[in-house]
């Protein structure tokens, strides 16, 4: 029986007794907390397999729980609940309900690859984070996160034109995430910059957002990429058993 450390010590699973004496030993109060007996039966045996089938998750089975990923993690240093080692553990055991509890933070991985650098087992924890975030989305546990929307907008521009244009990307991203484009700090930033940029350069940048830069002869590449993307999506849906149901990507 594996140890499910966190789930056992959650407040709802703890019992403290105001007054309790067992075998003449006084065990009252908070210092001797009891853990509610609990039998875990809801293992999802396909969880690891499903995550391993998504891009980035392939090597999850290699993890030996050394904790180097979490120890080196950029986001963990800001938020201790961001814990790649723990999530990999849950996935490998099939503890889906526990994993889903953290659905609002897993997407926050910043892809710094500190974990990949530190991992002694070639797990590619960064990839596992991305695969897990994608799994949560495809399975319908979370709505599309801002980072996924950004990835989509960015990639759509690359696939369509071969190149991106930052102004338009910004505009589309803020529109889709329902944020106002003129964030105070962005306005401040523009004010500082435009007070000293020469007119020519400003015109050049403005020009780029009107006439999207593009790669010549991209048409065939665009078609090839579109076919490939469709192929990948179909494969993912099949592995996750989503054909005909669930949210579309």
């Amino acid at each position: 029986m594996p140890i499910h450390e966190k789930s056992l010590i959650r407040p709802e699973n703890l019992i403290t007794h105001e007054e309790l004496v067992i075998d003449e030993v006084n065990v009252s109060g908070h210092w001797s907390t009891f853990i509610q007996p609990r039998v875990v039966t809801d293992y999802d045996e396909r969880l690891q397999e499903e995550i391993a089938a998504l891009p980035g998750g392939e090597n999850i089975h290699r993890c030996w729980q050394c904790g180097s990923c979490t120890n080196s993690c950029t986001v963990n240093a800001i938020n201790p609940d961001f814990n790649p080692r723990y999530w990999i553990y849950l996935i490998r055991l099939g503890m889906k309900e526990e994993l889903v509890r953290d659905k609002e933070i897993i997407w926050q991985c910043v892809s710094c690859n500190k974990c990949t650098y530190a991992c002694p087992r070639d797990v590619n924890p960064e990839g596992v984070m991305k695969a897990t975030a994608r799994w949560l989305e495809l399975k319908g546990y979370t709505e599309k996160k801002p980072s996924a929307i950004f990835d989509e907008e960015f990639s759509a521009q690359v696939f369509a034109k071969g190149r991106i244009e930052e102004g338009r990307l910004l505009q589309r991203f803020f529109a889709r995430t329902r944020q106002k484009l003129l964030q105070d700090w962005l306005v401040e930033l523009a004010r500082r910059l435009f007070s000293r940029l020469p007119l020519m350069l400003m015109m050049k940048l403005g020009w780029a957002s009107l006439f999207h830069p593009r790669t010549r002869g991209w048409r065939k590449a665009r078609a090839a990429i579109a076919d490939y993307v469709a192929e990948c999506e179909a494969m993912e849906r099949q592995v996750l058993g989503l054909n005909g149901k669930g949210p579309s990507s």
């Binding site: 690859n113 650098y117 980072s147 190149r163 105070d184 700090w185 500082r192």
Partner: protein
Amino acid sequence: MTNRPVAYYPGCALEGTGHAYHRSTKELANALGLGLVELENWNCCGAMEVKNIDPKLQTYLSARNLAISEKMGFETVMAPCNGCYHNLKKAEYDLTHDKTSQEVVERLSKKAGHAAYRAGSVRTLHVLEWLKEAIGEEGLKARVKNSLKGLKVANYYGCMYTRPRHIFPEKDKGPGSESTSKPHFMDDLLAAAGAENVEYPLKTACCGGAHTLSDSDTSTKLVLNLLTTAEACGADVIATECPTCHSGLEMHQVRAEKVLGRKTTVKILYFTQLLGMALGLSARKVGVHENISDSRALLKARGLG
């Protein structure tokens, strides 16, 4: 020392927010007499986004650029952006070691109507590696007209120049090679130009660039930490070698001030701007006025630009 022209891959960022890097890189090459030929008809490398749609598509995007370099007859392609550099190196690694990646790239290249890139035919260099190789510290020293003497610099390399380690087989090879845990190529070049590099423990820490807009609070915290640490180390300037890092630092310096009320005064400059001014180019020529972080007064006080 070799100074055969190399293929130059600027990437999307250098045509937009990273324009000052584009400009200063070209001016610097010019001043050093090094030839750059822009990669014809290049495409975006996919940055940190396309891989989240599918990593093999990202491999294809870089393979297409490498194939162009091969077709143009260049054996070296040079990229100033960490993201572009990282993706070219990653494609090279995957095409050397992974059969499925090879198959996908061959299939897509065929459909797109161009020759598939053959692993091993083109060498990818970061602008730092290229300058170290083509001109070196001694060569640079001999050309310095306006020493950066007294300028205290924190060298910031970010994530993608050194991580993940396996895609950079030439690094960590002992004396003379670049280190992935404590990179020093930028430090070496700036020191040769007279700068006083400070001991900066966050050289390869992350600025949160991947989520700079989608999770800006996290990025602001990470950047603020980079800035305050640089100040605590006594730096006047943070030198950057990546357009994403650079604009991340600049943007979130303003955001930290506006949103968190935390003002920092350390300036942010591309290392190519600093080297250019050391060679006697004007601040304007290397695009200092295009930076959001306004370092003109500092540079003037130090007799630079």
